[in-house]
């Protein structure tokens, strides 16, 4: 399949001053960004952040209230016919006849796109050969997601929009989806992924856009988003006196989750030594100590909190 994914335009996706309103509610508020071919751009955000509305405007399902969208240099509504031939889409859910069988559905979509993708090879590629004669309604959640991905791949896409592609998929299925995403990227496809799963974004993203309440609150590569935000992380099941520890270390200590703590602003080994000394002196059990750049979920939490305030 990858050998056929080799002729791409230099234009991926360009969104400029996009506004989408539903009545009085503004779902997307003057959003601008670009996405390049040969890169995976992940749109991150909580539910209701404006991710799906933005993607649907790019796919030509929604007419923007204001602003413009160009996909592969084409207008998604006015040049829909040309665009549909080279755009793969994976809806967040549904989109398939419940009584349709996996094999015949993939065959139908390969025929509709007419880009020379072999249906049987595609079914095998997404790991559904064992359920090729099973109807959609009898598939597991993960199998449904992989079928939806197969239909997007049937387009032999130059740009692909994947809405929550790993949602409900087991570990092996996730590995498969990630490998397909990398294959698309390496073949030069412009891959756009919308997700609220931060771990997933961290594994596949080249570029990240963080949406919050209809705005982009941060954008850049993963390293850019995490840079300048060093931290020490540790776990403890004991009661940790955050004020005492912060005073001792000279850095703010926060509890991020149950039994998980971070020392913000440093990854210095000397501070780690101070931390373990303090734990020993105060009879506090600590473990899983790690240091480095802030994780994406912490970046996300910080940015969305800043945006909310």
């Amino acid at each position: 399949m990858s050998s056929a994914l080799n002729t791409y335009t230099s234009v991926g996706l360009s969104v400029s001053q996009l506004v989408i309103k539903y009545g009085d509610v503004t779902a997307v508020n003057h959003v601008s960004f670009t996405a390049q071919p040969g890169r995976v751009t992940v749109i991150l955000g909580p539910n209701g952040a404006g991710k799906t509305s933005t993607i649907e405007a790019c796919e030509g399902f929604l007419s923007p209230t204001a602003g413009s969208v160009q996909v592969l240099g084409l207008h998604p509504l006015l040049q829909r016919k040309q665009l549909n031939r080279q755009m793969g889409i994976m809806l967040q859910e549904g989109g398939i006849y419940p009584s349709a069988r996996v094999g015949e559905l993939v065959k139908q979509y390969c025929a509709l796109y007419g880009n020379g993708v072999d249906a049987d090879t595609l079914v095998t590629r997404v790991g559904l050969q064992a359920v090729a004669t099973t109807t959609y309604r009898r598939l597991s959640g993960g199998e449904k997601q992989r079928l939806s991905l197969a239909l997007a791949l049937a387009a032999l896409p130059k740009i692909i929009f994947l809405d929550e592609p790993t949602s409900g998929i087991d570990v092996n299925g996730r590995d498969l989806v990630r490998s397909i995403i990398r294959e698309l990227r390496d073949g030069g496809c412009c891959v756009i992924v919308a997700t609220h799963e931060l771990d997933e974004a961290e594994r596949i993203a080249d570029d990240v856009l963080i949406f919050h309440r209809g705005n982009i609150v941060a954008s850049g590569t993963l390293d850019e988003l995490r840079s300048g935000r060093e931290e020490i992380r540790f776990r403890s099941t004991s009661r940790v006196d955050l004020q005492s520890l912060s005073t001792t270390l000279g850095f703010t200590v926060e509890q991020t989750r149950q039994h998980e703590f971070t020392v913000a602003g440093t990854s210095d080994a000397r501070v780690i030594v101070q931390l373990t000394d303090w734990a020993k002196a105060n009879n506090v059990d600590i473990g899983d100590i790690g240091a480095g750049s802030q994780r994406l979920d912490d970046v996300f939490r910080r940015l969305t909190a800043e945006s909310a305030s």
């Binding site: 889409i89 398939i96 349709a100 509709l112």
Partner: protein
């Protein structure tokens, strides 16, 4: 042409797998025709049961396929986002609509062949059959009923649409003079029945199978009116997702 063929095959495949739809479009019309042709309980005056029933049952078959079957299937496809997903393929709206129209046509041809063959086996007199008028009646009936079906399917949620289509089917079956003569109903209900699309189509069908025209041009005009209004309504009300 290839895309149209692919989609038409899909439409027919999905229909063939749906037992409820098959019961509706083939089972019920054939059962009604078989039962009432052979059980002498209908007040059909000087006509044989089967000669009275066949035109109305063909009208019922057209209504089942073009309104209820198409409307329910399209409503669920809309709810399941099938139409939305297909909208992002090179198929395009005109070919999707044409594929649906052709699938209705294929089913109606099968229905008419089976019903006429069954009626003939029960002794129906087909000597006066006007084929051109039959085609015209089916075409107008299909336009009228598909317009009504798609108007409901385009706005209502899947389950609500299902209930609405079935309720409308039952009402039109009862007041349209399909299984018993309209003249046996109260006069105000006769008037209502004659202006419903099922009543108008049944009247036109009776003229199709008769050597003389009993109803004149009025049912054809009523049916034409329904065809125009229903199609305009579908055009205005239908939403793809």
């Amino acid at each position: 042409m290839k895309l149209l063929r692919v989609q038409l095959a899909c439409e027919l495949r999905v229909l063939a797998r749906n037992g409820e739809q098959l019961l509706l479009i083939l089972g019920i019309p054939m059962l009604l025709l078989s039962f009432f042709s052979n059980v002498d309980i209908l007040p059909t005056a000087d006509q044989s049961n089967v000669d009275f029933l066949l035109p109305g049952i063909i009208a019922l078959a057209v209504m089942s396929t073009a309104m209820v079957s198409l409307g329910i299937a399209t409503g669920f496809e809309r709810s399941y986002l099938v139409l939305k997903r297909l909208g992002a393929t090179p198929l395009g709206v005109p070919r999707l609509v044409l594929a649906k129209a052709l699938s209705v046509l294929v089913v109606e041809i099968v229905q008419v062949i089976l019903l006429v063959a069954l009626a003939y086996a029960f002794g129906a007199n087909l000597g006066a059959l006007n084929l051109a008028k039959l085609v015209l009646a089916i075409a107008l009936g299909t336009l009228a009923f598909s317009g009504i079906g798609l108007s409901l399917a385009g706005r209502l949620r899947g389950e609500v649409n299902l209930a609405a289509q079935n309720a409308l089917y039952l009402v039109m079956l009862l007041v349209g003079g399909i299984v018993f003569p309209l003249q046996d109903l109260p006069s105000w209900l006769q008037w209502v029945g004659r202006i419903t699309p099922s009543g108008a189509l049944a009247d036109v069908m009776r003229d199709v199978f008769s050597a003389t025209s009993t109803y004149g041009a009025s049912p054809l005009v009523i049916l034409l009116g329904w065809a125009i209004v229903a199609q305009l309504s579908a055009f205005k009300l239908f939403r793809w997702n």
